[in-house]
């Protein structure tokens, strides 16, 4: 049984999605279907230091979110996680499967591998792991930002 009781934000680790460099780091629990996250993303991505993206899809509020997080994670398995995140936040009106395939093509990804990865149990578990760490940390809305 999963324990979702209170716990600190997990330390930044090798499996995290990290953009930028520097001593300082900000951890962001974000929902790829969330308009507030999309609005704040341009500012968040320009912050100095490291930006750590953690998945926090709230499916009942944004039904497409699980698919978008799986897509970003699948793109990450081909080394283009943040490019997919940027793309999804930049154009929230085109997030159905054909639009995802267009993004895959634009990013130069292997579509067959993308399709297999985004539907895999491993990707689902990876997204859920982040989500549950956010629940333990007390995230109640997105983007949930931890850091200086």
């Amino acid at each position: 049984m999963t324990d979702l009781g209170s716990a600190p934000v997990p330390p930044i680790g090798a499996e995290d999605h990290i953009r930028g460099e520097g001593e300082e780091a900000v951890v962001v629990y974000a929902d790829l279907g969330c308009p507030h996250c999309a609005a704040e993303w341009p500012q968040l991505r320009e912050r100095p230091g490291r930006l750590v993206f953690r998945h926090f899809p709230v499916a009942s509020k944004h039904p497409r979110s699980p698919a978008l997080h799986a897509a970003a994670e699948a793109a990450g398995r081909q080394g283009r996680f943040f490019e997919m995140v940027d793309s999804l936040y930049a154009d929230r009106g085109r997030v159905d499967d054909p639009h995802l395939w267009q993004r895959v093509e634009q990013l130069g990804l292997d579509l067959d591998r993308f399709e297999a990865d985004r539907r895999s149990k491993e990707v689902e578990a990876r997204v859920r792991r982040d989500f549950e760490s956010g629940i333990r940390a007390g995230v109640t809305s997105t983007p949930g930002v931890f850091g200086p």
């Binding site: 049984m1 709230v58 499916a59 009942s60 509020k61 629940i135 333990r136 940390a137 007390g138």
Partner: protein, 150 residues
């Protein structure tokens, strides 16, 4: 606010489908009563959506989640559909806020709705745990619920 160890006041309210539901219907089960200000408000939507995401884990603990506000059951139905949730929502509509008052959660006029309050009722109808938000604009994370259930 009702105190831990008190007998939870029984009630009968209509759910989102207009069916009568009593607290005593849950005898033998644990129930988490989630009092919230009102349907379609941004914070209430965030709260119920977030809890929906961990509802299976709450159920694993043997706890049924039940939302209560002063809205009509018609509004509850629409709110439930808008959020895409299946949490039971009970209508504390007439007399307005009577159940919230019985649990000490009601905020009088000019607000006229329940504060954001969690009340865990155990299998024999006794209040086992409570949490009241400092104001209606804040809601407790789901971690707070799991802390109480551990």
């Amino acid at each position: 606010m009702i105190s831990v160890g008190e007998q939870a006041p029984d009630f009968t309210l209509r759910n989102q489908d207009g069916e009568k539901v009593s607290l005593s219907d849950y005898k033998g089960c644990k129930v988490l009563l989630v009092f919230y200000p009102g349907d379609f408000s941004p914070v209430c939507g965030d709260q119920l959506s977030l809890y929906q995401e961990v509802k299976p884990q709450i159920a694993e603990k043997g706890v049924e989640l039940v939302g209560i506000s002063v809205d009509s059951f018609f509004a509850h139905k629409a709110f439930q559909e808008k959020l895409g949730i299946d949490t039971t929502l009970l209508s504390d509509f007439e007399p307005k806020g009577e159940v919230a008052r019985a649990y000490g959660s009601y905020i009088d006029a000019p607000l006229g709705f329940a504060n954001r309050t969690l009340v865990l009722v155990d299998e024999d109808g006794t209040v086992a745990w409570t949490h009241e938000s400092p104001n209606p604009g804040e809601f407790p994370g789901a971690n707070v619920i799991f802390d109480a259930l551990s």
